[in-house]
Amino acid sequence: MSLTSIDWVIMAVYSVFVLGIGVALKRYMKTSTDFFLAGRSIPAWVCGLAFISANLGAQEVIGMGASGAKYGIATSHFYWIGAIPAMVFVGIFMMPFYYGSRARSVPEYLRLRFDEKTRGLNAISFATMTIFSSGISVYAMAKLMQTLHILDSPLRRMGLPLSAGFHISIVISAIVVLVYILLGGLVSAIYNEVLQFFLIVAGFLPLVLLGLKDVGGWSGIKQQLPTAYTHSWQGMSNPHTNPLGVEWFGLVMGLGFVSSFGYWCTDFLVVQRAMAAESMSAARRTPLIASIPKMVFPFLVVLPGLIAISLPAQRASLLPSAHGTDTMKGETAVTGQGLIPPKINETTGLPMLDANGRPLLDYDLAVPNMLVHYLPTGLLGLGITALLASFMSGMAGNVTAFNTVWTYDIYQAYIHKGASDQHYLWVGRMATVFGIALSVAAAYAATHFNNIMDFLQLVFAFVNAPLFATFLLGMFWKRTTGHAAFAGLLSGTVAAAVHHGLTLPVGAVAGIKGGWLATVHVYPSEMAQNFWTAIWAWSVCMVVTVLVSLVTQPRKEEELVGLVYSLTPRISEGQLPWYKRPEALAILVVVLVLILNIIFW
């Protein structure tokens, strides 16, 4: 693929703005609250857009497009069930405690509500996890730059080997993110996330419109694909009759309840965006405002995958398969589908076939191929800029969450108590440098040990799965004790690991996919196994926390005011117009998402 000067100019303009925002914000960074919490001064709509953008890394854009091509419109469940209910819940029921307790982070809330050890456990696992997610984001970006051959022609001109592109992408993006966070802290990250939100819309909307025009609209897609691809709920009664390979109960409980509430309601990366809001009501509205664009995002990120696969004939892939080299140009004998090429075996250079002799498709190329196929030079530069922006803010989001948790929950709590605010501001800046250096190291680790990254992600899934049970009990049952929360979290994590060790998705071999203890149950798909791992972890954490709470000493009620639902005065927002009242917004959001589910039933 060749970019022309207009594409490069657009990318350059964007970089100037990103850095310029950091420079413009520098003079407002006076205290640690300014740096870590944006001085609690951001309007609700800005926090709301940052709330979804922080989660919308480019891996998600590429991954959701890939899933759209693989599973069809059912991928939207990751938005409609897997995000919206949890976002409504965190805004209405949990934000009063996060924002109202004046905790500066999610682990700090755990310390206020429970005790030091529960906070320590959460802070350390969260800080480690953010570094690795940020590393994976950097790695994925450098990989995509290679797949799209973006840096090839400038590298050739400079006489550098093409492999240098990987390192150059990592170094440049790390430096840009470092500079703008050092200068503007969380505000810089939030502002850039908002820019990224608009860039993704600006870059992907023309892509979707052109693609839809080409395939003949939604009805054209329906004609080309089996019905299972264009319905999100049909066939959900049985895992074998829908492309996801999950039955409705596993989907609703595993994805819709445990995983999604565990992420949206307890992950400091997103909750930090709401904590930066200018008032309690703005903090509560943040996830609700976020959920409105969130529910239409499938049309922007899932639909390109569906369009890519429903183009009537195999079209020449403009990009070689992710792992393929330039040698595969003549390999058109084995065809993919639509814009999706077959997967290429790295060692043989030949297309990979499944058990029935049909080619395996390289779904991750759905979105990159769509961009290259439809966008002319000019808009292509904008599309690439949008992807770059989302990679960088994916990294920045993790780094800002990391520096806060590191400074407040690890450094201030265990290493150096009682220093001046200026000292903690300095530590936060250092933690930013250090966090970005670690992310880059993690990105290089991923190039050498891909399995280690898979393994770590699995471990984090185990750690995260039970968390929501702890928060639910902590916020809504005043009897819950610190010992119980800690015991529940640990046993939930162990339960997740044991469940994973005892089950396997169909067709997989024992190992990283599960079954490393023994195989007592086989799931119809990996997704079903993941959802049930989460359900088990959550249930065990719930039961253990309740049982231990009943035999341990609860805290005095007056210490829990503002931390627990039954002991906290209700917030009255009657003076606000209806569209600013969280409850009214919540009802609107729920009705809208129901309508979407019915339309795409």
Binding site: I6, V9, I10, V13, Y14, F17, G20, I21, A24, L25, R27, Y28, K30, T31, D34, A38, G39, R40, S41, I42, P43, A44, W45, V46, V187, Y191, V194, L195, F198, A202, P206, L210, K213, D214, E278, S279, S281, A282, H373, Y374, L375, P376, T377, G378, L379, L382, L576, K580
Partner: protein, 82 residues
């Protein structure tokens, strides 16, 4: 925070919009074979330009109403919603 986010958004999209409109109007038209023969740079550039200008106007207007909102470190601006 002292910087209204709508100003940089407005400026960025106005600049990108202008670039795309300019390129769409004067650049080589061969590139539009990909985009089903439509000059999408011109059309989408115009959309982005309008969006950018609207953001600029909104950002400037709110700055004119609260000229120093948020400028003082203690958040001296009105606690109002925007």
């Amino acid at each position: 925070m002292g910087l209204d986010i709508r100003l940089p958004i407005g400026l960025l999209f106005s600049v990108i919009g202008l670039l795309l409109v300019g390129f769409g109007a004067f650049g080589d038209k061969v590139v539009y074979q990909r985009s089903l023969g439509l000059n999408v740079n011109l059309a989408w550039g115009a959309v982005l330009l309008v969006f950018g200008l609207i953001m600029l106007i909104l950002g400037r207007r709110s700055n004119a109403i609260h000229p120093h909102a948020g400028a003082s470190p203690d958040g001296g601006g009105p606690e109002g919603e925007r």
